[in-house]
């Protein structure tokens, strides 16, 4: 049904006065796949989405749907002709229309008789059949967001762009809404971009993750790849906590295992696990739900942070044995912080 063309950003740049919001960003959104775009606030996530949607014009570079040029420095297909579905954090439903009318809004191209049928099938697919004739202000946040997703998918868009769609939702319903929404989006086969600041959301729910910082796309790839093989400190940090350790502070055993080439190493807290190995003293312990965050003394000057499941409560001063997983230790060229 939906186009099987990818949506492509090729070396796109956009500046506002002195500030360059997006700098030579390239990304390919594949049909039927969900690509997450993550980055700190002010990193250019939203501007990038607005460029793809046609709400902003690029200063240079191209935006393409398959072979069709949607935007370049000289050519601009306006937002209303791009057929790109948009979903916003604050839902942006039309308050004067029912769920059905909202979903039918983009179906003007169809004969009138077919519109209701198409809209109803999307309403059904998102589990909103019982709310079909309700107005937005009578819906819960989750129902509003599912309506917004049905509305964006109904006209069979060439791509769908979601700007932090789930962060405004109550945590208790967020998972269910996200599940229903993303499976509907996958089924539609439209290329999808999910802008989020929630690393775990990106890791769990997307097929591809792209990390943006200071307007540039630093790395994109499968979640596993980005998490385990970040190309830079910024990418590593975007996907989860990392800690720093000076090479010369490493115990000899660990240094031999890791064989580092630079003075500084970075590691994920789960890179160190309890069990066999080096005997270390606990200098702090915090229970954080399923895992416990431990702080262990390597020496008087150096501590390491460990995310683990110790089995029994640990106290400061206890000794534990710890070993490392070298795959989760990273070396980055030319990064100081």
């Amino acid at each position: 049904m939906t186009s099987t063309h990818p949506l492509i950003a090729d070396q796109v740049t956009r500046a506002f006065g002195q500030v360059t919001a997006v700098q030579g960003a390239s990304l390919e959104l594949e049909p039927g796949k969900i690509t997450s775009l993550i980055g700190p606030s002010g990193s250019g996530k939203t501007t990038f989405l607005r460029l793809l949607a046609g709400m902003e014009r690029p200063d240079s570079g191209q935006i393409l749907s398959g072979d069709t040029v949607l935007a370049s420095a000289t050519h601009h297909v306006p937002i209303e002709k791009r057929k790109i579905g948009l979903v916003f954090q604050d839902f942006a439903l039309f308050p004067n229309m029912t769920v059905l009318q909202n979903v039918m809004f983009g179906l003007n191209a169809l004969p009138k008789a077919e519109r209701v049928g198409v809209a109803d099938s999307w309403i059904e697919r998102l589990g909103l059949a019982h709310r079909r004739d309700a107005y937005p202000h009578h819906l819960s946040g989750g129902e509003q967001q599912r309506t917004a997703i049905a509305r964006a998918l109904a006209p069979d868009p060439v791509a769908i762009l979601l700007d932090e769609p789930f962060s405004g939702l109550d945590p208790s319903m967020r998972d269910r809404v996200r599940e229903a929404s993303l499976s509907a989006i996958r089924a539609s086969r439209a290329p999808a971009l999910l802008v989020t600041h929630d690393a775990s959301e990106a890791l769990i729910h997307s097929d591809t993750i792209a990390v943006i910082d200071q307007g540039a796309i630093l790395q994109s790839g499968a979640p596993e790849t980005l998490y385990r093989q970040p190309g830079s400190l910024a990418v590593a940090r975007a996907l989860g906590p990392v800690h720093k350790i000076e090479t010369d502070q490493l115990p000899t055993d660990w240094r031999n295992t890791l064989n580092p080439k630079s003075d500084t190493l970075w590691y994920r807290p789960e890179a160190i696990s309890l069990g066999d190995g080096l005997e270390l003293t606990v200098s702090g312990s915090k229970l954080a739900g399923p895992i416990t965050e431990l702080c262990l003394n390597l020496s008087d000057a150096q501590q390491v942070y460990v995310a683990c499941q110790p089995g029994a409560p640990l106290q400061t001063g206890d000794t534990v044995k710890a070993t490392i997983n070298p795959a989760l230790f990273f070396e980055f060229a030319s990064e100081s912080t």
Binding site: T46, A53, G54, M55, P78, I79, E80, K81, R82, K83, I84, G85, L86, F88, Q89, D90, F91, A92, L93, F94, P95, N96, F105, G106, N108, A109, P136, H137, A148, R151, A152, P155
Partner: protein, 503 residues
């Protein structure tokens, strides 16, 4: 004050056929005028507000405040200016004849002295009320909603009709109702243009025909119309259309128009401004210059105007202050206050004037000297207090809620608190309130006309007398003075609107 109008209505209990003969046509004329004026107001205000809030075009920033300027002109001044512009000897028809070589009898030209003419005058002076509310309604809309609509293929006109307008409609209609209420209360323009509206009927029935009962019945009808418009305005403003505002993309991103469209837009906005403000003002200035209007002695007029204005504004200001502070103390008082103020606001000047005259007659007092002035000021207070409450209340609403309790916990109360805390805090609002009250009173015509004692002609009264005597030249200078004074609060208002937009 509500009782006040009750007196007026209660007295006219007897019906007769003569009355019916006048009541029905006057009512129909009034409603027809309101209908046409309403269409004119919507037609001018809503498209202007839409393009100004959504698009970027040359002069946008200027028009965004300049379109409020017509509010400075009382309807009657607009009527004088356009009557002169459109008259047989006026510049429009002279040029038409020069261009076509026709004589005055050979062609049809719109007649201002008619119901559509009156509607034109009232619509062009009062449309800024609708413009202001429409602007607010459009700019409050979530930009994301509009962008979502565009992403679903909505073209600019779709966007306006299907998305923006339905959401903004309650606000726009509320503004329209207020503007129509003002239009219904008009006396000066209708009297000058010879259109028999209820406002004109009330004054005439009392003064010319000496039929107080007729006047009272007409007044009741007018209050009914104005009151229902006020109620309608409140209803529209109710909690309908729960608006989602995006916190994220609220910053206005106005779409740039293509060059030809921008040119047409700028021209149309300029045309509105020319018709509603620049042309009439220029004509009055030219007339004042040409006819050497300085010959009339303005001094007694100014003295009476300033004296009545100062007394009225002072009294109304104190009333507004008491209302505002009382409302601060309790929710119940707040409700009562709003009700009283709204009742006064809905009562046209002619009706209040009539009420005062009834009371004077009942108590056997003659309409002279200090008594007349007292009653006139009473009418001013009744009619305009709500106009003064609004800016005071707005100032108060911006203050932290616990300020009073903090002051009380420090042992401050009563009059001490009033002078040390309330008054200084209200100062910015008080200035606006005083200015608005003064100018409203200065422009007020029907009640002043009915109640002023001998020798107390105000600028408005004298202007009207000159104009209805077809001595338009003499009317220009006082008219310009009224407009000049009226500009002050309007400029203050547009500055405040601009400030909210910039922030």
């Amino acid at each position: 004050m509500a009782l006040y109008t009750g007196v007026a209505a209660g007295d006219g209990a007897t019906w007769d056929h003569l009355l019916q003969n006048r009541l029905v046509p006057y009512t129909i004329t009034t409603l027809l005028t309101l209908l046409i004026a309403g269409i004119i107001m919507l037609g001018l205000a809503v498209p202007a507000a839409w393009v100004i809030s959504q698009y970027e075009f040359p002069g946008r920033e200027f028009f965004s405040w300049a379109l409020i300027l017509p509010l400075a002109m009382p309807g009657y001044v607009m009527a004088y200016a356009w009557a002169d512009l459109m008259g047989v000897a006026g510049p429009l028809q002279s040029h038409l004849r020069d261009l076509t070589g026709l004589s005055a009898r050979d062609y049809w030209f719109p007649n201002l002295f008619s119901v559509p003419g009156l509607a034109f005058v009232l619509g062009t002076t009062l449309f800024p009320y609708v413009y202001i509310t429409a602007r607010a309604a459009f700019s409050m809309q979530s930009l994301a909603t509009l962008e979502a609509a565009r992403s679903l293929g909505a073209r600019p006109l779709d966007l306006f009709w299907r998305v923006a307008l339905p959401v903004a409609l309650p606000g726009i209609l509320a503004g329209l109702c207020l503007a129509l209420m003002e239009a219904a209360a008009d006396y000066g323009a209708a009297d000058f243009l010879g259109v028999q509206t209820l406002g004109v009927g009330i004054v005439r029935s009392w003064q010319s025909f000496n039929e107080p009962n007729t006047a009272a019945r007409l007044a009741l009808m007018l209050v009914l119309i104005a009151g229902s418009l006020l109620v309608a305005a409140r209803l529209y403003q109710g909690d309908k259309g729960v608006q989602q505002t995006s916190s994220k993309w609220l910053a206005p991103r106005r779409e740039r128009m293509s060059r030809p469209v921008a040119l047409v837009t700028t021209t149309l906005c300029a045309l509105i401004l020319v018709i509603c403000f620049i042309a009439p003002i220029t004509r009055l200035l030219w007339l004042a210059w040409e006819t050497d209007a300085r010959s009339i002695d303005l001094w007694p007029l100014l003295r009476a105007t300033l004296a009545l204005g100062a007394m009225g504004a002072g009294a109304a200001f104190v009333a507004a202050l008491i209302f505002t502070l009382a409302a601060k103390r309790s929710q119940f008082l707040r409700m009562i206050t709003r009700l009283i103020a709204a009742a006064g606001y809905a009562a046209p000047g002619a009706v209040l004037g009539l009420g005062a005259l009834f009371i004077l007659r009942e108590t056997g007092q003659a309409l002279a000297g200090p008594i007349a002035i007292t009653f006139l000021i009473w009418v001013y207070v009744s009619r305009f207090t709500s106009a003064g409450v609004e800016p005071l209340q707005a100032t108060l609403d911006r203050l932290p809620k616990n300020l009073d309790r903090a002051a009380q916990s420090l042992g401050s109360k009563g009059l001490r608190q009033f002078f040390r805390l309330d008054l200084p805090l209200l100062a910015p609002g008080a200035f606006a309130a005083g200015l608005i009250l003064f100018v409203e009173i200065l422009k007020e015509l029907p009640a002043t006309l009915m109640l002023r004692p001998f020798g107390w002609d105000t600028l408005a009264v004298k202007t009207h007398a000159y104009a209805t005597d077809e001595r338009l030249a003499q009317a220009t200078l006082p008219s310009l003075l009224i407009v000049g004074a009226g500009l002050l609060p309007v400029l203050l208002l547009s500055w405040r609107l601009g400030a909210t937009e910039r922030s």
